[in-house]
């Protein structure tokens, strides 16, 4: 047996013993995700336990160093862990912008003190983060932000407004882009800071979307005091941190559609549409479209895995995150279109127990934001054309 085989056997046994039955199988809906934080909510006590045992082992962030609470696993071991979790259909123990976005940026740009302070809490799910990037005047043109941080010696005073701040009303802390030098060219006067959402002067207001609800908020800063120790990276060079973090965000959004697993969509569709005498989904065109989607989903999943391996082997440009973001979000939209087609009129019920209050319809509408948030599909294509294909004038 190789070391990896041993690791697989041990991991399998540990997961069998520690993953509660309630935490296996697909999530009923997005609201059932575990986000942790200071005032966490859990669907069942088992979900709390599952987050805690995984967090204690560092397996919510398997590849982070153990000194910061991570799992310290190699890439290959992390893949084994992921495949063993898929094998038993284990739910993600913790959904976290801290793990997906801020953590990798802190590992790269944070001070030792910042890493020691924040990373272990993130791994254990004790602190929930939101992201203060977009502003009403700066969406895809992110460097156009206006939120301003004035230097007051040992601290800054922040004033401005953010928009599309996911879960701002539920987050404990924010990682935020602020303008620290209004005179500099737009990319060169931005800094990346962290602060507590409970700081006086921070208010949030939820935004209702076409899905009838959403995690998005408007966030207002009115003379918010931010300690200088909470600057990440170099003053006025926050754009470097933001770009690195965006790459992680894009990979995360691209991968969103892959979460869940469960039965193949074709089988689910066959339940509602019916089957023909040969046991095939009784709508040949829908069946063909679903099968084509499954081919693309499988190829995309392998592509995500491959990009991870290429990054590890330093064989790829960081702009490759744009490829995953672009394709993953377009694919997820396609997936939900087909899921609606498979559900037929049942899936259209906006308010009923049968439709779990329109879960499928709301999720379908939510996916339309995938190709907008984190940089639109068009922005991602521009990045690929410029940084990977090196096309002229791109």
């Amino acid at each position: 047996m190789t070391d990896l085989d041993t690791f697989r056997a041990e991991t399998r046994a540990w997961l069998e013993a520690n993953c509660p039955a309630e935490c296996r199988g697909p999530l009923d809906n997005e609201e059932d995700r575990v986000w942790g934080g200071r005032n966490p909510t859990f669907k069942t006590p088992a979900h709390k336990q599952w987050m805690e045992v995984m967090g204690a082992r560092g397996w919510t962030a398997p590849e982070w160093p153990t000194e910061y609470g991570g799992g310290g696993l190699s890439r290959e071991e992390a893949k084994v862990l992921a495949s063993e979790m898929r094998r038993i259909d284990a739910q993600m123990p913790l959904s976290s912008f801290g793990i997906w976005m801020l953590g990798p940026a802190l590992l790269q740009f944070g001070t030792e003190e910042q890493k020691k302070r924040f990373l272990p809490e993130i791994v254990r799910g004790e602190i929930r983060w939101c992201q203060g990037y977009s502003e009403p005047g700066a969406g895809s043109d992110l460097a156009g932000i206006q939120t301003r941080a004035e230097d007051r010696g040992d601290h800054w005073i922040v004033n401005g407004q953010k928009v599309w701040t996911s879960y701002a009303d539920k987050a404990d802390w924010i990682f935020c882009l602020v303008r620290t030098d209004p005179e500099a060219p737009k990319h060169l006067g931005i800094s990346f800071v962290l602060f507590d959402m409970a700081t006086p002067g921070v208010t949030t207001r939820p935004i209702t979307l076409i899905s009838g609800k959403s995690p998005f908020c408007e966030t207002f800063f009115d003379d918010v005091r931010v300690e200088k120790a909470n600057l990440v990276g170099t003053l006025n060079r926050g754009w470097d941190v933001a770009k690195a973090l965006l790459a992680h965000e894009r990979t995360m959004i691209g991968g969103m559609g892959m979460i869940g697993g469960g039965r193949p969509m074709g089988q689910v569709a066959a339940d509602s549409v019916g089957t023909d005498d040969d046991g095939r989904l009784d709508d040949p065109i829908l069946r063909a479209k679903i099968a084509e989607l499954e081919v693309d989903l499988a190829a995309f999943q392998l592509s995500m895995e491959r990009v991870g391996d290429q990054v590890k082997a330093r064989q790829v440009s960081p702009a490759i995150a744009s490829m995953l973001k672009y394709y993953g979000s377009e694919l997820n939209k396609r997936r939900h279109e087909l899921s609606m087609a498979a559900g037929g009129s049942d899936a259209l019920e906006w308010e009923s127990d049968r439709s779990r209050n329109g879960t499928a319809a709301r999720d379908w509408l939510r996916t339309k934001a995938n190709s907008i948030e984190g940089g639109t599909s068009e922005v991602q294509l521009n990045i690929i054309a410029k940084h990977i294909l090196q096309l002229p004038g791109a």
Binding site: R75, E76, P264, G266, Q267, A269, A270, T275, G279, R280, L281, R287, A288, I290, A291, E292, E294, V295, D296, A298, A299, F300, L302, S303, E305, R306, D309, Q310, K312, A313, Q315, M323, Y326, Y327, E378, Q380, L381, N382, I384, A385, I388, L389, Q390, L391, P392, G393, A394
Partner: protein, 373 residues
């Protein structure tokens, strides 16, 4: 296993790309086509393939091969897709070699594997009968007769059938499929070379009361399906690799054109409409590449999901390569339609590779059935 090539596999890739671009670039295909070469392939080149260890890449070292796996065979197939080089690699080095390694008797292996590995022999696998790949619909029959069998039927799309030193014929026996190793000169066999759209080589083979001995059987009577499926799956994965190579090369040619061709006083690569299509195509090609490598690695690992992974790879690579060649011709404009420019050759080759061993529809259907809907 990481989804990237190992150092050794990268070295093989560089060796194959270097060898082919030096000895058999696209001009080689044009020469064979325009001179109406009787064989349609260069036997010298095939022998050189043998010397380089390419022809017998999957053949065990004990039989004179390189003893490598599916990933390495895919590396070779992708290189051949880039240069559009006609070669017995797919028919002999992949499909027939795989059948013989899986099920051949020691005598059959000793007689053929070293010669395939050396690039001396060409063995062709005759499986398809209709216009579409359908190994579950074989009607060629083999009836017991005396000490052997009598074969009747007709095969098409037999790669290198017109120059084969031996044929492997898939036929229906009492309780299943059986594979026969047949001398193409046996009375009752008629072979018609079919000049294909991509100037690669295939043949129609008609078998009328062809008498073969019992020792022509490869493996067990009625036991042909397993080894056939193993060979087809490797062949499909290699065809997918070739599609990726051809599609990517057409894309690279197009990128070069976008960077140099001027219209309306600008480089056409400056137009966002074309940039976005190029970026989309890049993304699709990367997905195809991941799917192909994933399939090849699963074949090597003997993973139970390998056949499904192969179907995903063949379907994905087929669709993506088709998009790549269509965009190549379109973005080149009028010159893309000329025989002088290479992009049309890629379009033709991709069409053939798409049809070979099951098109995207065949493999998408296979996925749906595997997943039970």
């Amino acid at each position: 296993m990481p989804l990237i090539l190992t150092e050794e596999q990268t070295m093989l890739k560089e060796a194959a790309d270097g060898f082919l671009s030096e000895n058999a670039p696209i001009a080689h295909l044009r020469h064979l086509r325009d001179s109406r070469d009787a064989d349609g392939v260069s036997r010298d080149l095939w022998r050189a393939f043998g010397e380089m260890g390419f022809a017998g890449v999957i053949i065990p070292e004990a039989h004179g091969g390189s003893g490598l796996g599916a990933v390495e065979a895919g590396v070779m197939a992708e290189a051949l897709g880039r240069t559009l080089t006609p070669s017995p690699f797919m028919g002999s080095g992949v499909l027939s070699a795989r059948v013989l390694i899986e099920a051949g008797s020691p005598e059959q292996q000793a007689a053929w594997l070293p010669r395939i590995a050396a690039g001396e022999a060409i063995v062709a696998l005759a499986v398809d009968e209709g216009a579409k790949h359908a190994p579950s619909k074989i009607t060629t029959t083999a009836q017991r007769s005396g000490n052997g069998f009598v074969l009747n039927g007709a095969k098409g799309f037999v790669l290198d059938g017109h120059i084969a030193d031996a044929l492997i014929v898939v036929a229906l026996t009492e309780n299943g499929l059986t594979l026969f190793l047949v001398d193409p000169k046996t009375p009752g066999i008629e072979i018609e070379r079919t000049i294909m759209v991509d100037a690669h080589n295939a043949a129609r083979v008609t078998l009328t009361d062809v008498q073969v001995d019992a020792d022509a059987v490869i493996g067990a009577v009625d036991g042909g399906e397993g080894p056939l499926e193993a060979a087809l799956n490797l062949g499909r994965a290699c065809a997918a690799a070739s599609l990726t190579g051809a599609g990517d090369q057409a894309f690279q040619t197009t990128l070069e054109y976008l960077r140099t061709r001027k219209q309306f006083g600008k480089l056409i690569g400056e137009f966002q409409a074309l940039q976005h299509r190029a970026a989309h195509l890049f993304t699709e090609i990367e997905l195809a590449r991941a799917a192909v490598l994933g399939a090849l690695q699963r074949l090597d690992a003997g993973h139970e999901t390998a056949p499904l992974a192969v179907s995903i790879a063949k379907a994905k690579a087929g669709r993506v390569a088709e998009l790549a060649v269509q965009e190549a011709v379109q973005m080149h404009g009028g010159v893309g339609m000329t025989d002088e420019y290479d992009v049309g050759l890629f379009m033709k080759r991709v069409r053939v590779l798409n049809e070979l061993l099951g098109d995207a529809g065949f493999h998408t259907e296979r996925l749906a059935r595997t997943q039970g809907y």
